[in-house]
């Protein structure tokens, strides 16, 4: 028996993206990522250029005078979670491009149950109370060599709820190594820790990024590992640079 149709599916899916890339425009150049792939904990030290707009399922971001970036996670709006992010470029620190970002996510009642498919369940369940998340993060990115970029983000996530959850601040760290194979293809390795001394979970994943002239696609697979359980799931992002 095959090792699972899921594996087959992802092989086919990956093949599709590679084929799509091969017929894409040759003029594309590798753009710096201004929006993290993994939600909440990942970010980069880069911003969108002045009056550039990136619209993607992992986030929408608008650059302003190379100094600021306004963003939202549009998909979460459909899941009863209005949100926005502000990002500000900090002075370079050696070879590191640095930025600070603050965001707000407002989980309305039943947000966690708003998934379309009942085949997905969330660990958080807020049927009758609201949750306010306000992450503040410091990000740094640099090219460590030709073709390798490192992104790091240190985040303090504040949580306030109107119900059963304890109000608290959780510290998290993420690191992403981006290996640029060509102007169009990159392999990314993701690591993250949430909670540290009050450990919640750590995250590990891998993803593929394809970049056309304007179109961008990412496909990844992530594990969230807790003390005695784990959860694995794919993640996808489609975006367009305007």
């Amino acid at each position: 028996m095959c090792h699972g149709l899921r594996s087959l599916f992802f092989r086919v899916f990956l093949g599709f993206w590679i084929c799509a890339a091969s017929v894409a425009t040759a003029q594309a150049t590798q753009r710096s990522m201004s929006v993290g792939f993994y939600p909440l904990w990942e970010n980069t030290g880069y911003l969108e250029p002045h009056r550039s707009l990136y619209v993607g399922t992992n986030g929408a971001a608008f650059g302003w005078h190379e100094q600021a970036q306004f963003g939202v996670q549009p998909v979460l709006f459909f899941y009863r979670t209005p949100n926005f992010q502000l990002k500000y470029q900090l002075p370079e620190w050696g070879a590191w491009s640095t930025s600070v970002q603050a965001g707000a996510y407002y989980l309305l009642e039943m947000a966690s149950r708003a998934v379309l498919s009942p085949m997905y369940s969330a660990r958080i369940d807020n049927p009758d109370y609201r949750v306010f998340l306000f992450p503040v993060g410091l990000s740094a990115s640099r090219a460590v060599s030709d073709g390798i970029i490192i992104h790091q983000t240190l985040t303090a996530l504040g949580l306030v709820s109107s119900g059963a959850l304890q109000d608290r601040i959780t510290l998290g760290y993420s690191a992403v190594a981006e290996f640029l194979a060509t102007d169009h293809h990159a392999l990314l390795v993701h690591l993250g820790e949430v909670g540290f001394w009050s450990h919640d979970h750590f995250m590990v994943g891998a993803s593929y990024r394809w970049l056309g002239e304007n179109f961008e696609a990412r496909l990844g697979y992530f594990y969230r590992v807790m003390s005695d359980s784990a959860q694995a799931a794919p993640l996808i992002a489609l975006g367009y640079h305007l």
Partner: protein, 488 residues
């Protein structure tokens, strides 16, 4: 389409599951976890216990007698009292439309099709009872293509979700599919191995969460007979019926019952029962003939009138059980008093029942509670209630008029796939016999009788009932006001 779906649920799934949460243990110091485990046999649990699983005096195990016909969708519906299904399975006969609904491979494909949206959901409504029920779009595929890997992933996901939910919730419900798949496709020892693994995970989870008191209850929709059916024992009822003089048809309208017996067989899954629909006047004739099929053990159907009038104070419902081409037993039921009328002169030992009649006694009238005690551990557990309930509209709008229960090692072929028919042939459920009928009720929450009627679950665990109605928004049904027992 897959891209669009991924862009939808994968993103919030990652987002919501990455939020670190803590609740206040003083608000929910006790958490009750109810695990609905598909196809978990009583005997498998005994195997696992013999190997050290669920050790300690706090665990109580009961045989859970599954409703007949012994099939998942209908049984979960009856056990959890969720809104009624149209038929026992996704494929069913609609007598109003006079056609088979969801015939062929659609019914089979439902088992592996991703549920992309509740509005496009082909799953039974009973699935809504579970806080956790699957680990993603491809869960069905992975469960049937690589069940061991799927089980590991399901258990990981289940406890990941539980770890978060228990921060705020007092009750958590989850569904595990893989034990049923293991039973159909692997060996009994493999299912016991899986159960030992689950037991260890439960123990570890409890140990690592001392801040709350956790109670776990495992319950199943049916058992598993672990009696492989060789390919030559895969029965195609459509072909068998004509051999005993019953015309196999796909609709009932426009047929004259005086021209000979006919029936619509429903055959979409590989289970050890078949339901037939026919003209009301043909139930006895079809039953007699179907019971002549060599692979058939017992056929049950409603009788129009008693063989002997018991002189009951009220009209009774009558049910017949046919075997080997003749009426092997029949009985009446008084809905008002919940009493069964059992006639003398029949061989009850054929069904493993020890019942003697005094001279001149024509009928023995036995109340449900007493009858359950008498037949709960026979070869056909809780026979009379299960026959009555299976032929009634309890949890299904259109029950079969004739239910065929196969002998051991025989099973309805159900479907054909390209290549070999040696698929899911290791174990079965569906028939009236104890094999496949005895499921599990295992808990460290409370004491249990040694044998329970599966539909009693919500009576034993009122907090589960409250959770289903208040949190899962289930409209709890009262399919049969007489099913409750006192278990004295």
């Amino acid at each position: 389409m897959v891209i669009a779906l991924g862009a939808c649920d994968w993103i919030p799934f990652a987002f919501f599951n990455s939020i670190p949460i803590r609740g206040d243990p003083t608000r929910n110091p006790e958490v009750r976890v109810y695990l609905g485990i598909d196809g978990l046999s009583y005997h498998t649990v005994q195997d696992a216990i013999a190997r050290g699983a669920f050790s300690g005096t706090s665990w109580k195990l009961a045989k859970s007698v599954a409703p007949f016909p012994v099939t998942s969708d209908a049984n979960w519906t009856k056990i959890l009292r969720t809104p009624a299904l149209d038929g026992y399975e996704l494929e069913y006969f609609d007598p109003i439309a006079d056609k088979i609904q969801h015939p062929g491979l659609l019914g089979l494909a439902r088992h592996v099709m991703p549920v992309v949206s509740e509005s496009l959901n082909l799953s039974a409504p009973c699935q809504s009872a579970f806080d956790y029920r699957a680990n993603g779009y491809f869960h069905g595929f992975s469960a049937y293509s690589d069940v061991f890997s799927s089980l590991g992933e399901s258990l990981d996901n289940l406890f990941f979700t539980l770890e978060g939910r228990s921060e705020t919730a007092s009750v958590f419900t989850a569904y595990l599919l893989e034990f049923d798949v293991l039973g159909h496709m692997q060996k009994r020892v493999d299912v016991a191995d899986a159960l030992v693994m689950l037991s260890k995970k439960i123990d570890r989870f409890i140990q690592r969460h001392p801040e709350r008191k956790f109670y776990f209850t495992l319950f199943s929709d049916h058992g598993m007979d672990f009696m492989p059916a060789p390919v030559e024992n895969l029965v195609v009822m459509e072909d068998e019926l004509p051999k005993v003089g019953v015309t196999s048809v796909r609709s009932l309208a426009g047929r004259d019952p005086s021209q000979g017996p006919y029936a619509v067989p429903l055959m979409h899954t590989r289970v050890s029962y078949i339901s037939l629909h026919t003209h009301a006047a043909l139930v006895s004739e079809v039953s007699i003939r179907a019971s002549q099929i060599p692979s058939v053990d017992v056929v049950v159907g409603k009788l129009d009138a008693p063989v002997v009038d018991p002189g009951a104070p009220r009209p009774l419902e009558w049910f017949g059980l046919w075997s080997g081409g003749s009426l092997a037993l029949y009985f009446g039921y008084d809905q008002q008093t919940d009493e069964y009328y059992l006639p003398s002169g029949y061989d009850y030992s054929r069904f493993g029942i020890s019942l003697s009649f005094s001279g001149g006694e024509v009928f023995r009238v036995i109340e449900d509670e007493a009858l359950f005690s008498l037949v709960k551990e026979t070869r056909y557990p809780d026979l009379f209630y299960r026959v009555r309930s299976g032929l009634s509209a309890h949890g299904v709008r259109f029950p079969g008029q004739v239910l065929v229960s196969f002998k051991a090692n025989y099973v309805s072929k159900g479907f054909s796939l390209p290549g070999s028919d040696k698929i899911a042939n290791e174990g079965f459920h569906g028939s009236l016999s104890e094999f496949g009928t005895l499921g599990t009720l295992l808990t460290n929450e409370r004491e249990l009788p040694s044998v329970v009627r599966a539909e009693s679950l919500l009576d034993f665990f009122p907090r589960l009932k409250t959770h289903l109605s208040s949190s899962r928004k289930i409209a709890i049904q009262d399919f049969d006001s007489k099913l409750s027992l006192n278990y004295q």
